[in-house]
């Protein structure tokens, strides 16, 4: 038993490594490109590890910077998985349902990258275990950061479980059990919202920082996350569609774009509400906002950044609001890129840095990330992208059936649903044994008004098909001019060249016979019958016993039924 399980795992891992690590030149190029950045990031981090966080541009005045900015943004991207889950499972919007697993893998990759950003920011990352309950002393429930650690890791586990569970069932060609899956999926929806809310609360709860200490912070976090995450998904889906055999419908993409428009409207509205409150009341709480948008006492390094973000967000909002530009792939992609960059600035540097400027004693220390911070961050982003690439390759292989257990039933795609041989065949099967005489067969054909029948052995297994064509050919095969004349009309191509004579069914039947399974879709039946120029196809069960016949007239009836 254990050996079998072990072998199963080896089998799976071999299949997995084949679909994950073997690919086209473009794939290797992409992975090498990312590897370079990952290595540069590792190198920069080793330097930071040796020298301390002094190699960053953070100081006591601005004690969080680029790492925490990217962390915050990535948590937003991770929360976007909900956006795909809600319509898929609450409203069973089928087109989106197919792509939910990609959203979940995106969440997993984004959370892992976010955790790496936290690790890069810690002064003593090797002491992370101080936060593990049981080993260390997690300050729960007092510290919001402790909450955030729990929620982040919980979200990671939840999404990993759901995607691995679905993947496992796909691998064995089964439908995931709804009773098990649904509770976890339903849990992950509020969890994603909670994740982002708690992350907002880490900043929101600090009364020392008026820029963050506004109740609008958490709603703004959610609204902007609902923009950046789906924008990234839209771009990723198109790349997938182009580079792989994965199919995603345009209507799913358009639906996502529409959602971004609504989320962006809310995001811009909340921003406007905040700007009004601060500027109109014009208290000391305005200083950070003024630093961000106008500059303060001659310090204005963030001003060009935030106006770029604002312009990008507004343009993207208009592009997604208008159906014409939303449905045009070019303008749609421009909008996605704008949203992604816009929110990255607004939720990253634009959110974290002004919290510290001016600092709590009124000093202004202007911050821009150092070379090391940029390199380490690029490394973490690249690592996340690498991880996601591999996840996606596995997910696609599972979906298209390239990664599948050998004993699993064949993949059935949504589009191939519809009538199958089982649904349209006539189940009245008249079969003969090979020793039956031709005369007897001819009588059977005439009396039952059929044009052919299967020939079976003693076990009832099909060994050939005998049709009127075979009988006609037997009569005329020695007269080449008749064969020539009738050939194209009635005779299957493969028969004409042969020279079969005899007086029993076994001697003149076509063997091996062309058969179909009960599961064979109508589309495939049409293809076989037209390509092979036959008039009927025998449908057999697993043991090759005839269970029905699909004739041309059955197909015509089925097609007529569909078009009606």
């Amino acid at each position: 038993m254990a050996v079998t399980a072990f072998q199963e795992i080896i089998l799976f891992l071999r299949g997995l490594s084949r679909v994950v690590f073997v690919g086209s030149k473009a794939f290797y190029g992409w992975m090498s490109f990312l590897t370079i950045f990952v290595l540069l990031g590792v190198w920069a981090y080793l330097f930071q590890w040796r020298e301390g966080l002094y190699v960053t541009n953070m100081r006591d005045q601005v004690s969080w910077g680029f790492y925490i900015s990217n962390f915050t943004f990535l948590v937003g991207v991770a929360a976007a998985a909900v956006l795909l889950i809600i319509p898929a499972y609450l409203y069973s919007f089928k087109a989106i349902k197919k792509i939910v697993v990609f959203g979940e893998f995106l969440a997993v990759s984004a959370i892992l990258a976010a955790l790496l950003f936290i690790g890069a920011d810690f002064g003593r990352p090797e002491r992370f275990w101080h936060a593990i309950p049981g080993l260390g002393t997690l300050n729960f429930p007092s510290s919001v950061l402790a909450w955030d650690m729990i929620v982040l890791n919980g979200y990671l586990c939840l999404n990993l479980f759901i995607s691995l569970y679905v993947g496992y069932y796909h691998y064995y060609g089964k439908e995931p059990k709804k009773a098990i899956l649904l509770p976890f999926i339903l849990l992950s929806i509020p969890w994603a919202a909670g994740l982002h809310t708690v992350t907002a609360f880490v900043y929101n709860g600090l009364a020392a920082r008026p820029f963050w200490n506004a109740s609008i912070l958490a709603p703004r976090f959610l609204a902007s996350a609902f923009c950046s995450g789906p924008a990234l998904m839209i771009i990723i889906f198109q790349v997938l569609r182009k580079l792989t055999d994965f199919r995603i419908e345009n209507k799913a993409i358009a639906k996502l774009a529409e959602m971004i428009a609504y989320a962006m409207a809310i995001n811009l509205f909340l921003l406007g509400a905040e700007i009004f409150k601060e500027y109109y009341s014009d208290t000391h709480h305005l200083s950070p906002l003024r630093y961000l948008y106008q500059g303060l006492h001659g310090h204005n390094r963030l001003v060009p950044w935030i106006w770029t973000a604002t312009a990008f967000n507004i343009i993207a909002f208009l592009l997604f609001l208008t159906p014409r530009t939303r449905n045009n792939l070019l303008t749609l992609n421009i909008g996605c890129a704008l949203v992604f960059i816009g929110v990255w600035i607004e939720k990253g540097m634009g959110l974290i840095i002004p919290g510290f400027i001016p600092d709590t004693l009124g000093e202004i220390y202007e911050y821009m990330p150092s070379r090391f911070e940029v390199m380490i961050s690029a490394g973490i982003w690249s690592f996340g992208a690498m991880l996601y690439t591999m996840f996606v390759r596995a997910a696609i292989a599972l979906d298209t059936g390239r990664l599948r257990h050998p004993d699993a039933p064949p993949v059935v795609h949504e589009e191939e649903k519809g009538p199958r041989a089982r649904d349209i065949m006539s189940t009245r099967v008249i079969a003969v044994r090979p020793e039956t005489s031709i005369e007897e067969v001819s009588k059977l054909l005439v009396s039952h008004r059929i044009s052919g029948l299967p020939v079976v052995d003693g076990d009832g297994k099909i060994i050939g098909v005998l049709s009127e064509s075979d009988i006609i050919f037997r009569e005329i095969h020695h007269e080449p001019h008749l064969v020539e004349k009738l050939g194209d009309m009635v005779l299957p191509r493969n028969l004409r060249a042969s020279d079969r004579t005899g007086s029993t069914a076994g001697e003149i039947m076509t063997s091996p016979p062309l058969t179909a399974q009960e599961e064979t879709p109508l589309k495939e039946l049409v293809q076989i019958i037209t390509e092979r120029k036959i008039k009927r196809i025998v449908v057999v069960d697993k043991d090759a016993r005839p269970v029905g016949v699909v004739s041309r007239i059955d197909i015509v009836k089925a097609l007529e039924h569909i078009s009606a």
Binding site: R50, E126, V202, A207, L361
Partner: protein, 297 residues
């Protein structure tokens, strides 16, 4: 029983074994030998003794002088409070330098636990403060000075946010940091409204001839890269009945210190006889650091 192994210790030991074998190869000198240890507050008296002894040996070796590392606990019925007379302060920064000399902060990154702000007379807006004033002579015409250090809040926002309980308020009201437990996330720095917390952005450097070997575990013992530190009201002095270094150094007697629970203390006299105020009282941090004016300008 001293040798009893609790569940938490057992878990920790297993993790230690696993982690140590992974890390030992690459960690020499970088991680230090304090990676896997117990949090200070959970140590038994014997464990504390052992740790203090080990630290004394380590620091004595490093700085070439006999070190004393104590862990004197808070006395009962003591709650330390501080008074700062803004009408007397001349902005000479002698307190800043005395503090540096006493508390062993890194000289290289110039960590200072006290920050003196120069204000224009008639203005109390911190955004208009000058942090880097450097005149020939103090006090300067038309200015007054606000020294700021840890306000030892009774309701400290920094303690609340720490994810690993590496910082806490002692029974005598001093907010301390266990440097060996701090993970360096700097959330406490973001939470502090007084910029009282300083971070060791790189390995601290203190010349051997400037080191103060009389230390307290929760106070002025040498720190390491990547952890937060702060004013402790000179815990190594005040728990032994002495004044903080800044109080002793002040040439104009602007700094007052004492037990808030003792009606006859200096700080109680200040509170009862002068109009005092606390910085950013609207944030409800309840500082035990009182600013006051003993005389007119």
């Amino acid at each position: 029983m001293e040798n009893k192994v609790s569940r938490r210790d057992f878990l920790r030991l297993s993790a230690v074994g696993l982690g140590a074998s992974v890390l030992s190869g690459c960690s020499n000198g970088l991680l230090g030998d304090d990676l896997f240890r117990t949090k200070f507050q959970e140590m038994s008296p014997n464990q504390v003794k052992e740790v203090l002894k080990r630290l004394e040996e380590k620091y004595s070796g490093k700085y070439g002088t006999q070190f004393s590392v104590t862990a004197t606990p808070a006395k009962e019925n003591v709650l330390f409070g501080y008074g700062l007379d803004l009408s007397r302060c001349i902005g000479c920064r002698r307190c800043v330098h005395a503090c540096v000399k006493e508390n062993n902060p890194s000289r290289e990154t110039q960590i200072q636990w006290i920050r003196d702000l120069r204000m224009k007379k008639g203005v109390l807006d911190l955004e208009k403060a000058e942090h880097y004033y450097s005149p020939e002579q103090v006090p300067e015409e038309g200015h007054y000075y606000i020294p700021v250090q840890c306000q030892q809040c009774e309701n400290p926002p920094c303690v609340k946010v720490c994810p690993v309980k590496a910082t806490w308020k002692e029974p005598d009201g001093i907010v301390v940091v266990d440097y060996d437990w701090c993970i360096g996330c700097r959330t406490c720095m973001a939470a502090c409204p007084y910029r009282a917390r300083k971070f060791n952005w790189k390995e601290p450097v203190i010349p051997k001839d400037e080191i103060n070997p009389q230390t307290h575990y929760l106070g002025n013992r040498p720190r390491m890269r990547g952890v937060v530190e702060k004013c402790t009201f000179c815990i190594q002095r005040t728990r032994e009945g002495r004044y903080p270094a800044c109080v002793e150094a002040c040439p104009v007697g602007a700094r007052k210190f004492g037990n808030l629970l003792d009606p006859k203390s200096e700080i109680r006299y200040v509170i009862e006889n002068f109009r005092v105020f606390r910085l950013k009282e609207e944030l409800n941090t309840e500082p035990k650091f009182y600013y006051f004016f003993s005389m007119g300008a």
